[in-house]
């Protein structure tokens, strides 16, 4: 089962990468006031159903994929 994890910097956490990208977009003439840069992880998960896959991936996020001090995440299960 294909599961996607969207990892975003938490609100209030300094995101210098996002700031640098925003500055470069502005240089190119785009009207963008804020940019946040996160990370996307696609996983093939062996699970019986979408709910089980979601629960498993949420555990992976807590254990390894994200650092709760600085990152929030969203789990998207394909076809769920």
């Amino acid at each position: 089962m294909r599961v996607t994890v969207l990892i975003r910097p938490k609100a209030g956490i300094l995101d210098p990468q996002g700031e640098a990208v925003q500055a470069s977009l502005s240089t190119l003439g785009f009207a963008v006031s804020r940019v946040w840069v996160g990370r996307l992880v696609d996983l093939e998960v062996e699970a019986d159903d979408p709910a089980a896959a979601r629960a498993e991936v949420e555990r992976m996020c807590a254990d390894l994929l994200t650092n709760p001090l600085i990152e929030g995440f969203e789990v998207v299960v394909e076809g769920a």
Partner: protein, 231 residues
């Protein structure tokens, strides 16, 4: 007197492990190379160094993958028992990811790799690593990192400051670290993480020697710790 025996852990991508061993040997210790897949440490080990580098290519987050290496269970057990552990640069990042130290290290505020000799102030002498220093003493030690900006939320920061866990502070802002924190200890004081590289600052021929008191502190405590464990 028995020499201090200090384990220096090498992960795939560590690159300051050799300098760490040389520095410890120069200060009279015996450095024991330990590989990341080793599940046990020699019972003679009195201290541990997690060296700098780019373990596992800094994939996912700096230190995140090293934290699950087989050797880390032994490191955690050693630290929890009270043995002295020092994490330098990437080692600091690993200790934070492992939850042995508070906070997390993020990309430098200025988004530039910083490589310079910097002045740090000793903020706490209540750790074995700074026991030989005076509070307020300035040490000059090189830094070289892209992700050394120590971050914690207001609550955690206040707690860490209140408990005297801030051990080293940059004299000038180097990377955007909160409160210019350069080195931080656990509550017990036996685990220290720092971005500056004391192992690169022990030989006057090569530059500043601000790393000497910190590593001498580790060596002295490692000798004591091994004796305590033997007894």
């Amino acid at each position: 007197m028995e020499p201090a025996r200090i384990a220096v852990v090498t992960f795939p991508g560590s690159n300051d492990d050799g300098d760490a061993r040389l520095a410890l040997e120069a200060l009279g210790a015996v450095a024991l190379p330990v590989w990341h897949t080793d599940e046990q440490l020699s019972p003679e080990v009195g201290g541990i160094v997690l060296p700098g580098g780019f373990s596992y290519g800094d994939y996912l987050r700096c230190g995140a993958l090293a934290r699950v290496a087989p050797v880390m269970d032994a490191v955690r057990a050693f630290a929890t028992a009270g043995g002295p552990v020092i994490g330098i640069c990437n080692g600091f990042q690993i200790l934070c990811e492992a939850g042995l130290l508070p906070g997390v290290l993020r990309p430098n505020r200025q988004l530039e790799f910083v490589c310079a000799d910097v002045s740090v102030t000793v903020e706490s002498t209540a750790t074995p690593f700074t026991a030989g220093c005076e509070a307020g003493q300035t040490l000059v030690i090189p830094v070289k990192h892209g992700e050394g900006c120590w971050v914690a939320d207001d609550e955690l920061l206040a707690r860490v400051v209140a408990r005297g866990q801030v051990v080293l502070r940059y004299a000038d802002d180097v990377n955007g670290s909160r409160e210019r924190i350069a080195g931080i200890a656990n509550e017990e004081g036996n685990v220290l993480g720092l971005m500056p590289h004391p192992e690169h600052a022990v030989d006057p021929l090569l530059g500043p020697t601000g790393g000497v008191p910190l590593l001498e502190g580790l060596v002295a405590r490692a000798r004591e710790w091994a004796a305590l464990v033997r007894a």
